[in-house]
Each structure stands twice: as structure tokens, then as C-alpha cells.
């Protein structure tokens, strides 16, 4: 079912947790709220679930205004951050808890639905055990089963994978995506892990300090970040960002200076943008995968710009790729390379950047220059 949030504001005393939050979620969509801890993601989710009431604004589920309804009357199910299985009840009693509370179906019906959901999540052999007898991953699946069994219109997940080990997390992410596609339910998922958000979301809502920074598909937030914060938050390893760079215009082309002596000449396209904006200094950002090497002395081809002499400081091998950290007079740069290239710590090399994927931000407002 579709969800609509209009101007949601929630304060705790003087602290503003969420401010003027507007979002429409379509039926069957998987939306991820992404942001650092304490940015208001969970509070927004609680407002949708009914665990908190917003100070201002309206929450609608379907066509119905539910702003002031208690959670039990909203037809939502939620998986909470800590696993939160009831420790005094068996897994079966945990899963059937919601159905028993709502008293909508018969005992046989409850039994049937619990078995069905348990088999979907592959925990049917564990339903008679107590929560503490299960492993972390099994407990996690039990909480998801507890939410799923209610056949909710909306499925809310508050960092459900935060306590899982890395491998299990990946499995669960795929599982969640599969459930969303198979059952077609609307899911709102909260996480601070950008990789998780990128991998499962239809759309990502990037949040910071109670505000929405950007809403977009994973590709949009990755390739068209609206501002410096989104650019820095999305992607791993993070973008190389150089703040407050001075620039001069030589022969009709702007040349950006990073630190004292690292110069990047910009193409005409970007030069124009800078001149139109009338700024004195800009923030320049480059993704690690857009950093390349050139043999010193040779001019890089058309699509690459700049040629900086930097020293290799640290090398991290990941098999599929190599992360290389460069340094020049305290200015750091991270690059991502295919494993075929050979690197040696301490060597001085010439790096260049892919022109197409260079990002420029206004140093004062942190907005992207378009």
C-alpha cells in the first residue's frame, strides 16, 4: 500500500529529530532511509509505525490518514533494531503473537500461517525452541517471520541487519529483496550502511540532521549527488573530496589548485559552469574508481584530465580490486584499480582523472554546480 508523509516534524524537548519530512512511497516499493546515526531515520519510521506521534504533519497509509492512530490499528509490521524476540515465549508463540493479539483468525489458521512463514524463512524446524537457543541469524529470521506472518500492508525495518556478521548480512539482504519481489509488499528499510542501501533499494532517501538531503534511485544518488554530503556518504571507499580549492583561468580554461602545487586543468564544460557561478573557491570531488595512472611524460588521452605526481603510501589488496592510497605534501587521494596493475609502496607515479565523473560543489552551500 502506498504511504504518504507530509511535513513530518518531531522534536524531543529542544532537539529536533525530524524536520519537515515529505515523502511518497508507492505500492510495492522498497525505500531505504540512509544516514548517519542520530539523523532521524528511526524517528521517522516510528512515526509511520505509530510508536511516536509527529508534532506536526500528516501520515497516510493507503488513502487513510493514520497520524494519530495507535500502531495496532495501522496494518503495519515492524522489525526492530535489536532483535526483540520475547524471551519468555517460544519461537512459534513469538511469530503468532500478533495474530493472537488481533484475534482475527482461528487457531488452525494461525498454525497454518505460522508454518508457512517459518518454511519461507527456513526456520520451521526451530519453531518449538526458545529464542535464546537460536543463533543470531536464526533469531533475525524469526523476527522477520513475526512481522511477515501478519500479512501487513506496510513492512518497516529498523536496521534489522545491524547485529549480523558480514556474511549473514549479505544473505539477508538478498533474501529481503527476494521477499519484496515475490510478495510485492511495500517496505521501508532504515540503515546507516550505504552498501546495504545501494544493494536493495528501489529508492534511497539520504538523511542528515533530521532533513532529507536527496531522494533518488541508487544510481541517481551515486552518479548525481545533489550535494557534498551525499557525495561523501555514498560509495566505498568514499569519494576523494578537496574543499576550498582556489582556481585561476589560463588560456580560457580554469585550473584548480589542490593544496600548494597539485593542479588540475578543467575542461571547457566545467570552466563555463564555474564562471557562471561567480565563485572564488570550489570543492572538487573524484570517485576512487575514476583515478587512473599515466606514464610520466606522456599526455593522457582526451577523456582524462590532469596529471599529478603522487607517492604511493598504502596498498590494500582485495583480490577483485586494489585500493591504493596516494600522498603528496599531506594531500591524500584514494584510487581503485584492477588487480592486474602493479604497485609498490614509496613509488612516485602520475595520476589522472576521468573528466566525465568529476564533481564540483559550491564551497559555501555544498550544493553541486550543475
Amino acid at each position: 500500500m502506498e504511504i504518504k508523509l507530509e511535513g513530518i516534524t518531531k522534536k524531543y524537548g529542544k532537539v529536533i529529530a525530524v524536520e519537515d519530512f515529505n515523502l511518497g512511497v508507492e505500492d510495492g516499493e522498497l525505500v531505504v532511509f540512509l544516514g548517519p546515526s542520530g539523523c532521524g531515520k528511526s524517528t521517522t519510521l516510528y512515526c509511520i509505525a505509530g510508536l511516536e506521534h509527529p508534532d506536526q504533519g500528516k501520515v497516510s497509509i493507503g488513502k487513510k490518514d493514520v497520524t494519530l492512530l495507535p500502531p495496532k490499528d495501522r496494518n503495519v509490521a515492524m522489525v526492530l533494531q535489536s532483535i526483540a524476540l520475547f524471551p519468555h515465549l517460544s519461537i512459534e508463540e513469538n511469530i503468532s503473537f500478533g495474530l493472537r493479539m488481533r484475534k482475527q483468525c482461528s487457531k488452525d489458521e494461525i498454525f497454518r500461517r505460522v508454518r508457512k512463514v517459518a518454511s519461507l524463512l527456513q526456520i520451521e524446524s526451530l519453531v518449538l525452541r526458545m529464542p535464546h537457543e537460536l543463533s543470531g541469524g536464526q533469531q533475525q529470521r524469526a523476527t522477520i517471520a513475526r512481522a511477515l506472518v501478519q500479512d501487513p500492508a506496510v513492512f518497516l525495518m529498523d536496521e534489522p541487519f545491524a547485529n549480523l556478521d558480514a556474511r549473514l548480512k549479505l544473505t539477508c539482504q538478498t533474501e529481503l529483496r527476494r521477499l519484496n519481489q515475490k510478495l510485492g509488499m511495500t517496505i521501508i528499510h532504515v540503515t546507516h550502511d550505504q552498501g546495504e542501501a545501494m544493494s536493495i533499494a528501489d529508492r534511497i532517501v539520504v538523511m542528515n540532521e533530521g532533513r532529507i538531503e536527496q531522494i533518488g534511485t541508487p544510481m541517481e544518488v551515486y552518479f548525481k549527488p545533489k550535494n557534498r554530503l551525499v557525495a561523501g556518504f555514498i560509495g566505498s571507499p568514499p569519494m576523494n573530496i578537496f574543499d576550498d580549492c582556489k582556481f585561476t583561468v589560463k588560456e580560457g580554461r580554469a585550473v584548480v589548485t589542490i593544496g600548494e602545487d597539485l593542479e588540475i586543468p578543467l575542461p571547457l564544460r566545467l570552466t563555463q559552469k564555474i564562471q557562471e557561478s561567480g565563485l572564488n573557491s570550489i570543492t572538487i570531488a573524484i570517485r576512487p574508481e575514476d583515478v587512473h595512472l599515466v606514464e610520466s611524460g606522456r599526455k593522457p588521452s582526451e577523456e582524462y584530465i590532469g596529471s599529478l605526481k603522487m607517492t604511493i603510501e598504502v596498498i590494500e589488496d582485495f583480490g577483485r580490486e586494489i585500493e591504493v592510497y596516494f600522498d603528496k605534501n599531506g594531500k591524500k587521494l584514494t584510487g581503485l584499480f584492477p588487480p592486474s596493475e602493479e604497485f609498490q609502496v614509496g613509488n612516485e607515479v602520475c595520476v589522472t582523472f576521468k573528466e566525465k565523473n568529476l564533481y564540483l560543489f559550491d564551497s559555501d552551500t555544498d550544493e553541486i554546480l550543475l
Binding site: Y46, A49, G50, L51, P70, P71, K72, V76, A77, M78, L80, Q81, S82, A84, L85, F86, P87, H88, F97, G98, M101, R102, M130, H132, T143, R146, A147, Q150, L156
Partner: protein, 290 residues
Amino acid sequence: MWKRIWNQTKDLIFKGDHSRLYQIVFMLLVVIFVLQALFPIYWLFISSIKPISELYDRDQALIPGSVNFSGYMNIWTFMDFSKNLLNSFIISGFATIIILFIGSLAGYVLGRTKIKGKTAIMVLILALSMFPQVSFLLPLFEAFSRYQLLDTHIAMILPDSAYLLPVGVLALRAFYSQIPQDLERAARVNGCTRLGALWRVIIPLSMPGFVSVGLMMFTLVYNEFFFANLFSMTKASQPAPVAVLRFELGYYQPWDLVTAASIVCMIPILLVMILAHKQVLKGLMMRGAV
């Protein structure tokens, strides 16, 4: 055998530390402390089983010459002590139920909700329980006599539960606040109201605490003397401790009966202690499971 027990205790308490002199002095002090705490109870007990002739003798022996349990029979026949015990159970039972019922709700509000001025309310409630009991005496006596409640169970149930409620609220609040917020949230998104979550999740999970508070309240009300002594006049409402004090046959106090009744009075509390001990262990085990 004594040597083995001594060695084991020594290892447990001192873990190989300290000199031999320190160990002996330490143990000696422990023994003195235990003796001085237990001696009055021992004295009470032997007095209750002494024959009358020995009980009123000028020379009192630490070990009675002969044993006579007639006191334990006579308290039921001459004094109708079972009626007093029943009164005690009625008063303590109802007061405990009232305290747990109101305390569980108040503890929830004060421990788990965000209400402005929560601390102020808490302090106010606590302050009420710090007043001396005697300051409530006149108004209570007036009220009870006007509504003809004097010498009824209610005349003790009401003031006892009101006076002990703050302590109960405070204790329950502490137990509640240990239950993770997410469990309550989970209950609420699974179709419970706030009260439903309290009843089905929070209370079951704080059961060890709930039972401990209940047993503690039961004991405190059972031992309560001040209100009981003033508001009960006859067998109709007199709880056991007050009855023991008022035992009289003609013009003399029958010490054989008083001592026997005192020992009988202790038995329920001893049972409560054993129960509480089990419950505390159970609580610890559950904590591990959660």
C-alpha cells in the same frame, strides 16, 4: 570433619590471603555477630518449650531441663490464635495485591513513559512515605471512626498499602526500566495497546522482580505494628503480632503462650524468605537467558 569444613571455608573466604592471626580474629568476630543476632530467637524458642515451672523460675538455664509443647497447643484452644493468623493473612494479602496492582501501573508510567514532571511526581510520592506514621494517626482515626471502619480489616489494609506503595512503585519502576524499549515496541507493533504490552510482555519479563516486591510487601505489612495496634480492638480484626502483645489470662500474661505464639508468627515469614530466595535465583537465571 570440622577440620575439613574449616579448610574449605577458609579457602572460600580468604582465598589464601592474609595471615593466620587475621583469619582467626575474623572468624571469631563473625561467630560473635551471628550469636548476638540469633541468641534472642534461641531464648524465645527455649522459653516456649520450657515447662511452666522452669519458665517462671528465678534461675534460668540455657538448656531447658525438660521439654513441654503445651504452649503450642494452648494458643489455638485458649487464645483462638488461628483467627489472628487469618487476620494477618487477609490484611497482608489484600494490601500486597493493592500495592502490586497500583504499583505496576504507576511504575510503568514513571519508569517507561516520557511525561513532563515525572521526577517531581516521583519525589513527591517518596516524600509522603518518609513522614512518620504517627502524623497520619489523627486524620485516619477520625475518618475510620466516622465511617465505622475501626476494628475492620480495611482499617489496616488501606493505610498499610498507602504507606508502603511508594516503596513498591520505586522498586517496580527499577525492574521495569531494565526491560529493553524495543521489546515493548515489538509488542505494540504486533497488535498490543500500551497496557497490553505491559501485561503480556513487561510484567512477565519482570516476574522475578514482581514476586520479590510482592514478598517484600507481604512481609512488611505482616510485621506492621503501629496502625494495627491502634485500629484493631478485638479478635475481629487483630493481626497476630498485636494479638501476641495483648495476650492475657485474667490479670497475668501467660509467657508460655506469648513465646509459643511468637515462634508461630515467625513461620510464615520464614516460608516467605525461602520462597524469595528461590525466586531471586530464578531471576538471576532468567537474566542469563535474556
